[in-house]
């Protein structure tokens, strides 16, 4: 059997489409556990921050260590599409967010605790939106929803912002993670 150039072109298009779709679903599947882990961390962190405001720094220090450790473990457990360990990328991303979080506060100080919390949430949302531009629309949508929920809570529910971020922010991340796992 011989193929025409049109048939060959069509076959190449078909295999490229299937390959891209498969790769995207695989990247979604790899990202999902990260969102779920950080969703649980936000649920606990913002929740405890609301009940124990004097211990905010300690709460987030402990939880961030847990989150970073989990991210490294998950990055190693699930290779990238090139087969390489991607844990360093997650670590570098988290570190970058933290650095920019500190730098923005230095530039804009004085910053209230609520503003600092909203800033971190918006930086995380930005990270997911930018990641979504490379990985797929679902991640970008998750980032946009997270940003919108953060702003709603900040501007309309300031008295209960931590609880809002715990339930709605943490919950949104968990749901986004579950959505990424779906085919």
């Amino acid at each position: 059997m011989t193929l025409s150039s049109e048939q060959a072109e069509q076959a190449l298009r078909d295999l490229e489409t299937a390959g891209q779709r498969s790769g995207q679903l695989y990247r979604y599947q790899r990202s999902a556990p990260m969102l779920i882990v950080w969703g649980v961390i936000w649920l606990i962190g913002f929740g405890l921050s609301d009940f124990f405001p004097a211990r905010v720094n300690l709460i987030w220090l402990v939880l961030d260590v847990v989150g970073v450790s989990a991210s490294i473990y998950l990055g190693r457990a699930s290779p990238s599409s090139t087969g390489k360990d991607s844990s360093w990328r997650w670590l570098a991303s988290i570190f970058s967010i933290l650095v920019f979080y500190i730098l923005v506060q230095l530039v804009l100080q004085p910053v209230t605790e609520q503003q600092a919390a909203a800033l971190m949430a918006l930086l995380v949302a930005l990270f997911y939106v930018l990641g979504g531009l490379w990985i797929g629309a679902r991640l970008a949508i998750a980032g946009l929803v997270l940003a919108a929920l953060t702003l709603v809570g900040f501007f309309t529910l300031s008295a209960h912002f931590n609880l809002w971020m715990a339930v709605v922010g943490g919950g949104a991340l968990i749901l986004a993670g579950l959505w990424l796992r779906r085919v």
């Binding site: 193929l3 060959a8 076959a11 078909d14 295999l15 299937a18 695989y26 599409s81 085919v183």
Partner: protein, 98 residues
Amino acid sequence: MDPLDEIIHQPVRLKIMAALKALPSRTQIEFVRLRAVVEATEGNLGAHLATLEKSGYIAIEKDFVGKKPRTRVALTPAGRRAFERYVDYLRGILDGAA
């Protein structure tokens, strides 16, 4: 030029091979996920997977997650090489036509 690989050159099997090739080496994909990618019915996909497995291009693993059966598929090294030869064949046709 190598002859056309008739095992791979079938629309559904082509998509299966392309979907598996897009994953890291030895990575398995679950049946339900593969079905979403190639957009085939369960029976149709199963039949084509059997053909590819018989040719040594894929490896199928079946187990249980709790009580739920799970089927996972991965490309074999032979399958990877065969797919690369098939893509080279297609590109060769286009280069020859150019």
